[in-house]
Symmetry: D2
């Protein structure tokens, strides 16, 4: 089967029996619900970009399982060049939709799993790799969309999984049967969960010996029995329920769609189970997921900031202030932030390394640095953008006011900017600014998305190679002889978990 079109993807959702609750009610045609549909549009756009001749070079790749072209979101990368193309795909999609691409967790999960199950098999003589490849072949053949679900609800953060009052606060195997396993638990904040075909489910953190039921990796269709999606609202997305097109700002894509996924005694047949109890592999599984996720996070961040720049510059022109030095200075700073975040992603990709399975992973220090940098950058960019746009991007009348025969004329008159631009255009752009800077929550989501900043900091400290650096200092001030230090200092590679 060839690459799906956006339309074919939409059709495929209609075949699914995915259980989605919004506001306490089960939604019948979830793909048409006002707060879900923008996510469908976003994923559909991801499908369309794989057909676009201008971008196909990096939005698609060739499957090593089928030999056919596939969407790069489902691709297992084997070189730095391929990783760089992935960064470009993410940046493009983020910039074009102004939205979470939703599909990157699938990429993260597929690559982290591919690299790791191979190593489990090598060490344990298991057959996870074969199962995983069979599952992935189906994904490739049918051009399906996958989320990688990792974050447990976690309960009391000062306690380990097994110590919680309720053992299901981390997802776990509650039963092992001859034909498969039964799992219970919940994954929280899963971006785009309601609009994908499959969930590839990871443990949330390193699982220790004695906590075996929590060391589980498996895949289920999004509409498997016992899987329930509960929509989680951003306050700003309530606008989708009371406003009109113009009020949405980002008309097609602008509502951030995340759901909590409940796994209520879900049965998973063995051919969809890729790890089950091998606790010693959970550390690298989780670290690799995080590393890849943080690497691509650089590029969606950069794509979004680029959109912020476009909006801010446009509104500055509509307001007649684009040539002011302080406006140019802010645009420069935003461009700096976008470019720096993207540079971290590119560098982590370029400096990556190959695992025994052949899967190529980004460099971990730069990946973590890039994520940490980007999460601060986009919040600063949001602030700068709204400084440029001014109060009109904060509070605005509704489209209903603008269309009102009584007061619409007041708005038509008083919300006019420079004479070359119509009031409606200015209002539309201001609504997009309002959505991006005061409603969409994307900038803010980076604060905890891909793990909170403290997680990246812990990784950065762990990767700092302090011994080598102290040795060099001792040489320079005459405490130690040159030779012993020379050997390793300044090896040029920032750090290497895989070595």
């Amino acid at each position: 089967m060839p690459l799906k079109t956006g339309e074919e993807y939409r059709e495929s959702l209609k075949q699914m029996k995915t259980v989605v609750y919004v506001g306490g009610r089960k939604v019948d045609r979830f793909y048409e619900h006002p707060v879900i549909k923008p996510a469908v549009n976003t994923v559909a756009k991801g499908y369309e970009l794989a057909h676009d001749p201008h971008h196909r070079d990096f939005t698609t790749a060739t499957s090593y399982l089928t030999g056919n072209p596939i969407n790069r979101f489902n691709y297992v990368a084997t070189s730095g060049e391929e990783l760089i193309k992935r960064e470009r795909q993410i940046k493009l999609a983020s910039h074009m939709t102004g939205q979470c691409v939703y599909q990157c967790t699938g990429t993260d999960a597929i690559n982290a799993a591919a690299a790791t199950v191979y190593e489990v098999d090598e060490a344990e003589k298991t057959e996870y790799n074969q199962r995983f490849n069979a599952w992935l072949r189906n994904i490739h053949e049918n051009d399906l969309t996958v989320t990688g679900a990792l974050t447990d609800v976690k309960g009391d953060r000062s306690k380990r999984p097994g110590e919680q009052a309720d053992p299901d606060l981390f997802l776990r195997v509650v039963d092992k049967r001859w034909d498969g396993i039964v799992v219970r638990g919940a994954k929280i904040f899963q971006s785009g969960a309601a609009v994908v075909h499959e969930h590839l489910v990871f443990p949330c953190q390193t699982i220790r010996r004695g906590e075996e039921p929590y060391a589980v990796l498996f895949a289920v269709p999004a509409d498997a029995k016992g899987v329930v999606h509960i929509h989680q609202y951003l306050p700003g997305d309530a606008m989708r329920m009371i406003g009109d097109e113009m009020d949405f700002g980002n008309i097609q894509y602008g509502a951030y769609s995340t759901q909590m996924i409940i796994f209520d005694n879900v049965f998973v047949p063995w051919d969809r189970v890729f790890l089950c109890g091998e606790t010693e592999f959970t550390n690298r599984l989780v670290e690799r997921f995080g590393r890849i996720h943080r690497c691509v996070s650089c590029s969606c961040t950069s794509g979004w900031i680029d959109l912020f720049i476009g909006v801010a510059q446009a509104l500055a022109e509509y307001n007649g202030v684009a040539k002011k030095e302080h406006i140019k200075d802010k645009i420069t700073q935003m461009t700096f932030l976008s470019g720096r975040a993207f540079a971290c992603g590119i560098a982590a990709a370029a400096e990556g390394s190959r695992t025994p399975s052949g899967v190529y992973l980004p460099e971990p220090l730069m990946s973590n640095i890039g994520k940490l940098d980007g999460s601060l950058a986009i919040n600063e960019a949001r602030r700068l953008g709204s400084e440029i746009c001014g109060g009109i991007s904060a509070v605005l009348p509704l489209e209903k006011d603008y269309r009102s025969p009584e007061i619409g004329p007041y708005l038509e008159e008083f919300l006019r900017g420079v004479s070359e631009v119509s009031t409606e255009e200015r209002l539309r752009m201001a609504k997009l600014a309002q959505h991006l800077f005061f409603g969409c929550g994307l900038a803010e989501s980076k604060i905890s998305g891909s793990g909170p900043s403290q997680v990246q900091k812990v990784m950065i400290y762990a990767l700092a190679d302090l011994q080598m650096k102290m040795r060099r200092a001792r040489v320079l001030c005459g405490i130690e002889e040159e030779e012993s230090a020379g050997r390793r200092a300044g090896h040029g590679r920032a750090g290497a978990l895989e070595a």
Copy 2:
């Protein structure tokens, strides 16, 4: 008449015929509309705090016009101590409501006008001061609430008022009659405009000779003929229309209420006109308004950040992470930011100066510094707060989900934190965090509120006294003799516009 209670204030609104549009429709009982009522609650709280024996010392003052106690919001200050009390009042109200106090623009406007109209009369032999005092006496006697309306819609920012395609894009006098004036124009983003008794209307910027119709200062009742209020939405406030109590986060006060005020050929009798054509006084009128506004802005900023701290610390405890070093470090940083902003307000108050009329104004350099500092501080505090709270403060199910018999039990189980705290309490606190960090827009509003940062920067540069500083440098490196420099250097006063 004594100080109004909150209840009396609510009653007084029912007597008003204020015209308020929300979503294209004129609202009948505007004080009960879901997106307006929180503002009524907030202002009512301001009335109640004037009765509170714990705070009365700084929430009230004695009118120099009636000799009776009045709410400090309507007070004309005459000493640094009084200004410091004003800072405390603003901080208290902001912290207790988690909302814009709505009444500070009234304070700003009353004080800036009182100081200036006196000087106009001195110079021009006009009678504005007498008129103004008569108007203010009525405010004091009836304990009314006032907004100071300043910001015009401004159209093309590269053009002066008189150069705009539409002359009404800055509010102006369109007719002068024997009994008063007629004005036309619009004031944008007026916080709390719909729920006050009076508007005290200022020019937006320095008005030059030749632009006389724009040099106008006057007061009108909020329900005067031709005055129309159009509600401006924050995206997050749409939640007030679709959610339930718990979803509001800040239950009583949590929707930011601003309206655009249209003045469509509004007649203002002469006894309510306090400046009309005296362009040379507009500079100080506007500068003083801004200076006072920026000074009190330090304190609402600090009060809000204190609330952010409370929420973040509470949720950290509910999540079981409050003792982690990185959490304590972030709480420390937030406390630092809050205290520093408040310090700027206190210092500007303590270092203020008296104008010829006896009105005491805050020190301008520190006022501008404090506003600029606070607007960055609260955005950083918002980020830190949401870092502490984590993803649960970003996206959440609705109260309807939590109450649903089908999926409510899932949420009850899976959204539990530490065992000492109920799921509902954790959910309520998370909703407040969500409101504050992802919906309420208060932090973000500081970006353009009290004027954009560039305005403060221009003031700071103007007040820098570079000649004195260069002279001192020349002495130290031997270019100039000591004596001439000694005389003024380090005068201890940061700067003085009034001198």
Copy 3:
């Protein structure tokens, strides 16, 4: 005896037998040594400013012991207004000399001691207060200069005083005799130690029960037997040994003079001992010293930044770039930083509180915030200043090059800026910039001066009043009733250690 002149102070040093080592050698006339003399000039300037009619209002005060005018550096303050004057004195002296004022630790120590020994006597029926006042009366009568010496050398920071391999790594009482005590230890980084009359010596940190020998407060003349001063070099101050006047940049004052003070079995008679073994008072003694020191630190920081601004603006004019927007923007930012630091000091002074003895202390939260803020601010200001000045402030030929008949003409020609300014003037200003931004170490010294930033952070967290803030949050989201929270919230005082 009246207030000393600068000249009388210089004379008084000649009478002292202070032991000072520089570069391994005991210096005969220490007050003339090239790296010590600038400190003499600086302290002399402090004496002169007390005679200056333009500044006398805040550089002097009236002694409560003698009823005569004294230098404010030796004054015990009893009101917020007095504290504000102290801030001005420090800012003036810092700005005028571009140097550490050297005398502020005396102020800190005198005030912290005065407030505390009174309380010791109240609780313990001791006679420290009487002794202290007798000692202070002598200081006042003879207009002497005092350092407050606090920082021990501390050895292994992970160990308590009594646990160190060498018990003298914290200064301690090694013998108690009928006529006095004998102390041994060392105080490190004591600014100006070699050029004062007296040392008032403090414990370095809270001393616990069982560590009594370390709980000691006393005064000794700087030339007491067994007191040795070892000069500590900043690298840049080596320029004083090889360069000429122009090379010093800050010609009169520009070498930062700190000495390690060795106390090698120094005898202290009982009438100079003000605490000896009362461990439970060391906490407040040290905290108050730190609090006062951090409060005045705001003002020297601000004074120095003002000097940076003067130099940067002057050199920008000499280079022909002062009107560029990015230069103005940096000057604005520096002015912002200076004003904000000063505001913290003013606010901490204005919000201070009285102790039982009548001594008035600054507000502790704002004092700590101000110090922390200032130490970051001055480093940022240093960077901005050197950005404005450019490479010419980094590396420069020596005055000897400029005076050389062979190559001097090249420099005269090629180091010329705008035509209105001579090359020598530009070179002098560049040398001052070089000294301030690349040599003097003042900005950098703030990093550890007044205690490292972590100490301030610990204090800020301790003063955050998290219980009150969480209570308010619980009210707003409906977990708790209004009333209980209302009582304390937003009390307007940032925090109060003394309450």
Copy 4:
């Protein structure tokens, strides 16, 4: 001829008649002068690293002119991989010496010239490329060291080269002869100028039509007639004249060596002239030099920060505080800053592009971003490092004090840290910290090195592609149709000057 050893390089300097003035006197054996010798050591180290089997892979390359191995500093790169190796070489050398590598301007100049003179010849039918290759072949064959000299003294910055009162304030051709040209002017702040073999001299900025004499590119030996080097002091380097080994901190390499180069009517034969009057090529010549310089600047910055980390961590261990959370947090932040700067360099290298000549240049947006980032990063790292090290890294006694029989024992006792480390080791490490954080000026030099930050900001704004970004915004809010925007958005390349 093979690659020179360090020793051979030292010998080669003895053959040179380079004219160097230090402190007003011509220095006889300049390579032995205390403030020059550290630069000789640094360059010698660069030679040695090309022989080191651990690093040879990236410290050497193959000459396309001779087919032999050459030092990568003199290499003309033709691919992204080669550029990445160059970044590693710079980072290694910077980390190992803690000093400016001195040779990078040669790299910048050789590559920028190689790319450009080819294009001049293509357009103008000149023979510059052939001349340049002949000159470069000699460099390769004899393994010589080159500086690229660009920065003119510039006089009044508000005036163009031709408008200055003195026409020589920008270097220019004062005479054209049959056998060559005569140039006059001065290049300022030339790092390492005194210790190289050749200067490759660039115009300082874009030269316009009518300013032809300033459009000149040529090479001269450092000891050519009329070339005079005047040493420029950092204040801290005066320590080299009065201190002893330990006081130098960075014993071998620690004095930053820059000289002003005077060209006093220097004759340059035609075969060393590579541009002469072709003004239209100066823009790209200068931009490329800057771009390459900013790209490699990322890596020296990163190498230096790594050294700061090593010193700070070592001293934290010596002080017994390395395990404290706030120390780990600062080390983490420094590692973050180092890694991010390096990532920008790597990304700019990986995303570079080929010019018509085949020379491969880094991506310009990321190069400029990386430089700007690094210059802020290293100043923050310097601050963090000195915060970790504390006051002992600011002011210290001299080695002479430590060796003094009278007071040395005091220092031996009182400067002891943890018991596992000798006082001398702690003192040596503290001296290195002092040198790096308070004396060496490297961090600070980044402020103006590679051009001041404003230059990078102007480049970043120019490369921002605002049209594309605004188009995308218009599509998302419904002002414009999708299709036209899709075509270019998110092209994945940050920007491309060369396209």
